[in-house]
């Protein structure tokens, strides 16, 4: 019975993650902690390991259809991983409640901007502004990495809207690029958890079995997804994440 629960956890994370170009941690961690009764500290390493598989599985569907920018993948990954290290070190200095509430405000603003589908004021194009394009992208990747490290969340939920709204990438390319990128940062985190013996091997096997199937299906549907459906789903995911991040901090304030 437990195996089925873990399997469905991986499957649902793969489906949503693959569809939206995310890792699926936003599904896995609550699923494992709330439904399966797994401790939070055990759920996070399992989630990080499974995200590596989801990236392998779902990104292939986007790459096959040319919906991922390979140059951006490498460039952004380098700076995102660097930002991630900075963020996780900063989290020891910056008060958690402050960063969570600040990020919540940012998430809510992004969620509404994303839903409206506001066009960027100036679309940066690679051909015309090569240096500027790359500068903007590296800054975005670094900040995304810092935020992800600071709050302990995956980068995908921040990265896709930023690539779409600020860089001006098409929604499918933003999701495909993100799906490939998250594999690298997740691999770094998962390796650290694994070396510290924090990955629960009994849980991780069925979750991986589920996510490898879910990721493929999710990725396949994601490449033909209608932008409105993606935007609405992202809107819900971002508001949900905002709620999860801020609820405890707000409760503490009152």
């Amino acid at each position: 019975m437990e195996v089925l629960l873990y399997l469905s956890c991986g499957l649902s994370a793969g489906l949503l993650g693959g569809y939206l170009g995310l890792g699926g941690g936003i599904v896995m961690v609550p699923f494992l902690t709330v439904l399966a009764g797994v401790d939070f500290k055990a759920a996070v390493p399992v989630s990080a390991t499974a995200i590596v598989v989801n990236s392998l599985s779902s990104s292939n569907e986007y790459v096959k259809k040319g919906m991922a920018d390979m140059e951006l993948v490498i460039l952004l990954s380098v700076f995102m991983v660097m930002g991630n290290i900075t963020g996780s070190n900063l989290s020891q200095v910056v008060p958690a409640d402050f960063s969570r509430i600040l990020f919540t405000v940012l998430l809510i603003y992004t969620a509404f901007s994303f839903l409206k589908g506001r066009k960027p004021t100036e679309k940066l194009s690679f051909e015309d502004h090569r240096t500027r394009y790359f500068m903007v992208c590296t800054v975005i990747a670094f900040i995304t990495g810092v935020l992800a490290g600071l709050l302990g969340v995956g980068g995908g939920v921040i990265l896709v809207p930023t690539l779409y709204l600020i860089v001006g990438l098409p929604l499918t390319t933003a999701r495909g690029t993100s799906a490939l990128m998250i594999g690298f940062s997740a691999a770094a985190s998962a390796t650290v958890y694994f070396l510290n013996n924090q990955v629960n091997l009994q849980i991780v096997a069925p979750v991986i079995a589920g996510i490898v199937v879910g990721g493929k299906i999710g990725g396949r549907f994601g490449t033909v997804a209608k932008p409105l459906v993606v935007k609405v789903l992202f809107f819900i995911v971002m508001l949900y994440l905002a709620f999860r991040l801020s609820s405890e901090s707000i409760m503490r304030l009152f």
Partner: protein, 96 residues
């Protein structure tokens, strides 16, 4: 568009074979444990080791493809990514 020079066929093949291998391995382990057949923790352990290696080796596929496409800066950047990931692991595991 320069990105068109990047031939993604190797990456697609690499990811497809890795995914199939991971799927076969972990689905078999899950089925065995679901049918109450004893599954060694070591089998899962080495599965995860293999999975992490597959993920890290993907950087080399990128580097190779960029080099073949004549995008040498991006090839170097791919190696740099590998170094950054390994340094992160070393930093978090051994130093912090």
């Amino acid at each position: 568009m320069k990105e068109k020079l990047f031939n993604s066929n190797s990456l697609i093949k690499y990811q497809r074979y890795s995914r199939n291998l991971v799927a076969l391995y972990f689905i078999t382990l899950t089925l065995l444990s679901a049918t109450s057949i004893w599954v060694s923790v070591e089998a899962i352990y080495w599965g995860v080791v293999g999975l992490l290696l597959i993920a890290l080796l993907r950087v080399l596929v990128f580097a190779h493809e960029f080099r073949k496409a004549g995008l040498f800066r991006f090839s170097l950047l791919s190696y740099l990514l590998g170094v950054v990931i390994l340094s992160t692991v070393a930093l978090k595991y051994w130093i912090l």
